[in-house]
Structure formats: structure tokens, C-alpha cells
């Protein structure tokens, strides 16, 4: 092993301490400013989705700045249009949906009483009423708070209309310079490893978010179109709920289907409409499981299902919806970094020793 002068080693250690301190302090500063950090994180997620489009536009013969302009105008339109057009529709839908809650509650209580009588007749076991009342109380609280705050969430996005495109524009325009600046600060001893792992991390995160975004959009479009074709009320709201819940692995599609099924049973009873909606959700999720997921998502994330569930729970606990979305690629990235450290500590050292 080549010996290096002591002062030079000390200099390198100082650079390493400085570098990691800058990263750590930047992370703390961001976390202490949630109003900036949340749209910035969202902008970064969108930046990861959009940045691969710039080289594609450049291949069509546009310059870098022109490509950036085209992308930015497209982004502004696609962000402003849904908010101007869809927010009032979704808000109206969610307001109306609140009036349906007592109707749905009444239906569930009636059905529970029927089941209770049936169970008592057949087995002699008496079911307590509190099972139903507790469940309804919990569900009512969750649904009311979701619907009550939905317009508020949407209204707070108005602030994001200005912030997110601004952040995205500068990330797309000056992201490369920022990257160069961070790499310029990186000490020589970890430069190659840091650069490569950082690149892999961003790639995994970007690919996963893009794939998940496409997957959720496909499911949302199928369900909204299907509900609209079946002439079911709140098609847009239910489609939006199904696409948001689709982000949660395994249980997400079921959670997404529950409000629609209860609403249909309460409104139209168990009949053709219920069958139609049930079939629609099964078909939409079958398309997702059989086609969309294997093609888009599964190749990107290769982590154990238990780790997927744990990472989603932890992500939602600490960072809410965004935590839920980024938890899986984050877990995949942690696995990547862990594997790299393991290789550095054990595999490479073993080959050195050999």
C-alpha cells in the first residue's frame, strides 16, 4: 500500500469532514423549511421525470435552450390546465360526496343488523353493535377529514403552481452546474464512488417515479373512463382516489376500490351497477398486475416484498404521501449503497488479500 504524507492525509480527512457536514447541514436546513422543502422535493421528483426528455428533444434537432423552453411551456400548461379545470370539478364532487356519507352509513348499519341476526340464528353467537359503530366512526372520521381537507390541499397547490415550475426550470437549466459544484466539493478519495452511486440513486429514483406515475395514470384513466361509461356518479373523484391509492403496493388497489363499491351499493344496491363496477376494478387492476407492472415497474425495483411493505409504512409515517412514493426507490437505493459498501469492505478486500 503506498504511504502518503501525514499532512496530506490530514487535509483529505478535513475535506471529507467538511463535505459531509455541508450535505448534513443542507439536509437539516431543508427539513426545517417544509414550505420550501415540500415543493422543492416535488419539483425534484418532476425534474427526474422530465430531464430525460431534454436529450430526446435535442435529438429532434432543437438546441438545449429551445428544448428547455418547449418542456417548460408544456409543463406550465399541463400544471395550470388541470388545476383551473379539474380542481373545481373535484371540489364539487367531494362536497357532494359528503352528503352521501349518511346514506352509506345507514346502508352499512342495516346490512350489519341483517348479518348479526343471521349469525345469531345459525351459531348462537351475539355480535356486538360496537363492532359496526366503531368501524363506521373510524371510517367516517377518515373520509370526512379527507374530503374536508381535499379542497384545502388543492388550494395549497395554488402556491405550488408558481413555486414548482420555477424550481423545475432552474433545476433543468442549472442542475448540471449544481451537480458540478457538488462534485467539485467532493474529496478525491471518494469522488468516483460518490459520483457513480449518486448517479445510480438518481436513475433508480427517476425511473421508478416515472414508471409509477405512468402506472397510476393508466389505472386512473381506465377507472374514470369505465365509471363514466357505466354512468356512475363521482367518476373523476373515484378515478383520482384509485390512481393515488395505486401508489401503495399490494393493498393500494383494494383501498382504492372500497369507496366506489360502498358508494355504488348504497346508491344503486347490489345489482348490475355493482357487478359492473366490481368487474371494472378487477379488470383495471388485472391490466395493471399483468401488463403495466411487469413492463414498467418490476424491472426497476428488485427488493423483497417484506422490505417493500416496511419501507412504505416507514415512508408514510415520516413523510406522508411523498414518503410513500419515494420509499420504495429509496429502499432500492439504500440496498445499492449497502451492496457497494459490502463489496468494498468484504469482496474487494478479500480479493486484495488473495
Amino acid at each position: 500500500m503506498p504511504k502518503q504524507p501525514k499532512t496530506r492525509v490530514q487535509g483529505e480527512v478535513a475535506r471529507l469532514i467538511f463535505f459531509f457536514s455541508v450535505i448534513f447541514l443542507s439536509a437539516i436546513a431543508l427539513m426545517s423549511m417544509p414550505r420550501i422543502a415540500a415543493p422543492l422535493t416535488f419539483a425534484y421528483v418532476l425534474y427526474l421525470i422530465l430531464s430525460p426528455l431534454i436529450p430526446r428533444l435535442m435529438k429532434l434537432g432543437f438546441g438545449r435552450n429551445t428544448s428547455l423552453g418547449i418542456l417548460f411551456i408544456g409543463l406550465m400548461f399541463s400544471m395550470t390546465y388541470p388545476i383551473v379545470k379539474l380542481v373545481p370539478m373535484i371540489t364539487a364532487d367531494s362536497q357532494n360526496f359528503r352528503y352521501y356519507i349518511p346514506k352509506m352509513e345507514k346502508y352499512v348499519v342495516e346490512k350489519y343488523q341483517d348479518i348479526k341476526v343471521e349469525v345469531e340464528k345459525r351459531s348462537g353467537i351475539q355480535l356486538k353493535d360496537s363492532y359496526a359503530t366503531d368501524a363506521i366512526y373510524g371510517a367516517r372520521k377518515a373520509v370526512t377529514s379527507f374530503l374536508l381537507y381535499l379542497p384545502q390541499y388543492l388550494a395549497s397547490t395554488l402556491e405550488w403552481i408558481f413555486l414548482v415550475p420555477l424550481f423545475i426550470f432552474f433545476l433543468l437549466k442549472d442542475g448540471y452546474r449544481l451537480k458540478k459544484m457538488i462534485l467539485g466539493l467532493t474529496p478525491n478519495s471518494i469522488f468516483e464512488r460518490f459520483y457513480y452511486l449518486g448517479h445510480q440513486f438518481n436513475k433508480k429514483l427517476g425511473d421508478y417515479i416515472f414508471a409509477k406515475f405512468v402506472e397510476a395514470s393508466i389505472v386512473g384513466i381506465i377507472i374514470t373512463t369505465g365509471l363514466w361509461a357505466l354512468d356512475i356518479r363521482f367518476a373523476l373523484l373515484l378515478g383520482l382516489i384509485s390512481s393515488i391509492t395505486n401508489i401503495i403496493p399490494y393493498v393500494g388497489p383494494i383501498i382504492g376500490a372500497v369507496p366506489a363499491l360502498i358508494m355504488v351499493v348504497a346508491e344503486y344496491g347490489v345489482g348490475a351497477s355493482f357487478g359492473g363496477v366490481l368487474t371494472l376494478y378487477i379488470v383495471a387492476n388485472a391490466i395493471d398486475i399483468a401488463l403495466v407492472f411487469p413492463i414498467l415497474v418490476s424491472k426497476i425495483v428488485d427488493i423483497h416484498p417484506i422490505m417493500v411493505v416496511i419501507s412504505v409504512i416507514l415512508g408514510s409515517q415520516y413523510f406522508g404521501l411523498i414518503g410513500m412514493i419515494i420509499s420504495i426507490p429509496f429502499a432500492a437505493a439504500v440496498k445499492l449503497v449497502g451492496a457497494e459498501i459490502y463489496r468494498e469492505l468484504y469482496a474487494t478486500r478479500a480479493s486484495r488479500g488473495a
Binding site: 503506498p2 502518503q4 496530506r8 483529505e12 458540478k180 478525491n188 468516483e192 463489496r343 474487494t348 486484495r352
Partner: protein
Amino acid sequence: MESYEKGINTKVESGQALPEKLDISLLKYFWQASPIAGSRIDTIPKFLRKIDVLKNFSDNELRVLSQWLHLRVFSDSEIIFKQKDIGVGLYFIYSGQVDVKVENDDTAEENIVLTLDKNDYFGELALLQEGSIRNATAVSRDTTQLLGIFKPDVENLIESYPVVATKLLQSISVIVANRLFSVTQELKRAKHKLHQMEVDSAKTTKN
């Protein structure tokens, strides 16, 4: 000093070879005196022009390539990378010198096998191989400036500037092919020497 035109005419008349590029002294003077010409943006492409394996690049392609290179400064005796480390980058020596050391498997001592100078390059295999292991240790001599290009840059370059990326990979292939040719020649010589020694030893045993 005779005029440029006169000089060219003299060369044409006497049948001498003409210069490949225009060489107008006054124009050249003003061009070089330009404040933009002295900036780093301009000096890196100029430096790259001197590298033999990049000769198939046009000036604009070199300018594009220069934007993807990372300037790294290493102090005297600083390790650039270690033998058996996983590598992801190719380096061009912008200034200074680099010692290439190989560890002896038996004694674990490192011997300098090569000293690379300005305009030389090393680490090209790391750009092509997956999980490439460095074959030698590279240590800087004096303060050394290196221009590095790494796997992520090549991946991005392929997406953004496919022609430049193709030319770069072609250049790296040329480097690797040349190295492979030298190794094959070396192996041939060693084989021949071994055969000769076997023949000699057989003769000695007979006698």
C-alpha cells in the same frame, strides 16, 4: 517579414508543400490575444486536440466533450486510485505527471512500472467494463491536474450527443485494441523465448 501571399506563391512556385491550415500571423496574433481565447473553456478543447486518440473529433465535438470532463487536482504523492479498487473513469493528464504502480503479489511491495506525462491517459477499461477492477495504483507526482470522464457522463453523453459519444467510445476502443495488440506481441515474444529455452535445455540434457 514577407507577406503571407508572397510566401504561399514562393512555395507554390518552388513546389514546396503548403501548410494544412491558414497561418496568417497578424490574424493569429489578434485571435490569440483575445481575452476569450485564454479562458479554460477554450484551453480544454485545445488540450484535447493534442491527444492523439481524439484526432477524429471535430473542433465543435471537442468543445462538447470538454463540457463533460471533470477537472480534478491532486497534490504531490496523492493516490488517484488504488489497485483492485472498482473504477468508473478514464483520466487525461492536463498537467503534471502520474506514476503507475503495480503491487507484487508475493511481497506486497509496489513498484513503479510507468510514469505518465502531460497529454497521456489512463483508466480506459473502467469506462467499458461492468464493475471494472483497477489493474494498478495511480499516484500523482507534484501537483497534477487531471481531466476525468466517468460512466455516468458517458451514459448522459450517449443520450444527449450520440455522435460525440460514439466517437469517444471509438477512441477508447482504439486505445484498448492497441493495448491488446501490444500484449499479444509481448505474449508471442515470451512464448518464443520459452520455446527457445525449452529447446536449449533439451539440447543441454542430450549432451
